[in-house]
Subunit: 158 residues, 2 copies
Amino acid sequence: MPAEPTTFITPDALLAHWQGHRRLTRRVIDAFPEDQFLTFSLGGMRPFSTLAMELVSMALPMVQGLASGEWTMPNNREPQPKAEVLRLWDEATSQMNEVWPQIPPQKFLETIKAFGQWPGVVHDLVLYVVDNEIHHRGQGYVYLRALGIAPPAFYDRS
Amino acid sequence: MPAEPTTFITPDALLAHWQGHRRLTRRVIDAFPEDQFLTFSLGGMRPFSTLAMELVSMALPMVQGLASGEWTMPNNREPQPKAEVLRLWDEATSQMNEVWPQIPPQKFLETIKAFGQWPGVVHDLVLYVVDNEIHHRGQGYVYLRALGIAPPAFYDRS
């Protein structure tokens, strides 16, 4: 059996890092006025409600798929009012904490097809979901600034 | 000696992941017309040249600090023309590949003060630099869309 590869970050610490991002993204969702959450856009891009529902459709389903090997593509990516997005967000946050420890640790270094269609090493697939959240949240910062609203501090993950 | 902690991602794979992001960010920088790179802004935010120079000021200096234990805060964060930012970008990309392997692997799990002032576990400090790049690049996507320019594909890291 080969030696365990050197660690940049452990699965536990990665989840903690991700949940820090999720707390910040939740604050960005909550910073939008209800109507602009559903309608405001710049450059023909999607409103933040639609972007947030994309994030909801990826995070918990990825974790569940890795833990169970069963991939379910969420069919609800329609924009939702803020209260509903926040409810789905909090539910997923809690379930992710429960399901993540069920992923076998060696899994993160395996090459798989996520959702039956996206090939990659599991750590890259997970980071894709985190990075996509950061990417769209950064766009939400521009929407908020353009609306005259100061966004939450990027460095605060508490 | 305790067992090596479980690995989510190795240092080598994390650098490869980061360099994939850097290739995408380079394409976003290059997608801006020269004048708008220096001047275009939404919501009172900084032009993309200034954001890109912030990224330049963080990436290689973080890697160098971790490898050597000596922290130099770059004093040039002034906006630069596109050709100069791309030159600095490519130089840093190459140097990061050289210096990263000199970081002792156990370093990533230690708690330090980066640049003598930001405390944290090294993996979180490194991810902060990567995440900050993704965050500001996402803002660059909105600038490009508002300028009527299609940004490069987010998923393409080649």
